[in-house]
């Protein structure tokens, strides 16, 4: 059955930039309410507060938390607040779009920028992959993931390809896809659909932090069959569309939202 977004609640992890931000806007434009988690210092925090106000102007109920989405205390606080806000209706959409990782090489290179430490490796995979599992556990425990709910995790071509400085993030993306598969199977009896969205190369703040990303983006633009890069709004539209179905039959996939970019790699 196809339903409207209007009146639903979504939980967006990584709401202040990139895919999370675009998706929050797309949902709010359709009357969806948004609970968002972001983690920003001063200027970013102010921008996020302003963004929340813009969404409220669209008529949505919006609650942002400037907290570390990888910490247990954040999950506890946000999930209990979500239970108060969404109540029996639960959370329709969960989007995991957390980009916080180490971009150091595994072995020394010419730039002599150092190599990744065990601590930074563990942090990267914990934030960008494992945290999804813990959020899901807490949401299930709170009774907030009901039949028809959707879980999305943002992956990239880096889950199967090698990019300079992307080693730890690549591992995190591979782990995230594995977690999403596992959750798809474990949540199928509950009627909850779980999918990875493999966005094409997108000029998000997260991408711009990757050394050499500008040149890489140019190559991707040239080879993308659409001759442009992915925009955050492309992903937001896919999420809105997929979430309007109450079915959980479309589950356990890695769905390319890249204009065909991977086909010509």
């Amino acid at each position: 059955m196809i339903t409207e977004i209007q009146g639903s609640w979504s939980l967006i992890l990584g709401v202040s930039s990139g895919f999370g931000r675009a998706t929050a806007r797309a949902l709010a434009e359709r009357g969806g309410n948004v609970i968002g988690v972001h983690f920003d210092t001063s200027d970013g925090a102010e921008a996020a507060a302003k963004f929340a106000d813009e969404l409220r102007d669209l008529g949505a109920s919006v609650h942002f938390f400037n907290l570390n989405a990888a910490s247990a205390s954040t999950r506890s606080e946000v999930v209990s607040r979500a239970a108060e806000l969404a109540g029996m209706q639960g959370v329709r959409i969960v989007l995991h779009s957390l980009a916080f990782g180490s971009l150091l090489p595994f072995v020394p290179d010419e730039q002599d920028q150092g190599t990744i430490s065990p601590r930074q490796m563990a942090m990267t995979v914990d934030v960008m992959a494992h945290s999804l599992v813990y959020w899901t556990q807490d949401l299930i425990a709170a009774g907030l993931l009901t039949r028809g709910a959707k879980i999305y995790g943002m992956t990239s071509a880096g889950s199967t390809q090698v990019l300079n400085s992307y080693g730890a993030v690549s591992a995190a993306k591979a782990a995230l896809e594995a977690h999403l598969r596992q959750l798809a199977v474990e949540l199928a009896p509950r009627g909850v659909a779980v999918n990875a969205l493999r966005a094409g190369t997108t000029l998000t703040p997260a991408l711009e932090k990757i050394p050499g990303s500008a040149a890489y983006a140019d190559q991707c633009r040239a080879r993308n069959p659409h001759r442009r890069l992915t925009e955050p709004e492309d992903v937001a539209e896919a999420i809105v569309l997929l979430s309007m179905s109450t079915s959980s039959w479309l589950t356990g996939n890695v769905i390319g939202v890249d204009g065909g970019e991977l086909l010509t790699a």
Binding site: S42, R119, M123
Partner: protein
């Protein structure tokens, strides 16, 4: 290091904020404990410290500034200079 009487910044309060951000007992955050080497602080925990400090003291800390900090005493130096400069 002796207390600087011209500032109101309470080192123990600062220690509590850092310990809270790191989810460590206060006693472990000694004045000279090295964040990365002694307290296993990663870049996300470092961001926790900054966000806590910004909220508590109403200051703005750039990422480049925080990368230079590795002990509680250095954090105090930074916060004090921010508070002085912000007046």
């Amino acid at each position: 290091m002796s207390e600087n009487t011209t500032t109101a910044l309470d080192l123990d309060e600062l220690r509590a904020i850092v310990a809270d951000a790191l989810e460590l007992p206060k006693e472990e955050v000694t004045d000279e404990a090295h964040f990365a080497n002694d307290l296993q602080v990663d870049s996300l925990m470092a961001l926790e410290i900054v966000v806590h400090l910004e909220k508590r003291y109403g200051i703005k800390v750039a990422e480049s500034e925080f990368k230079e900090l590795s002990t509680l005493l250095q954090v105090r130096g930074l916060v004090e200079s921010k508070l002085a400069g912000g007046k």
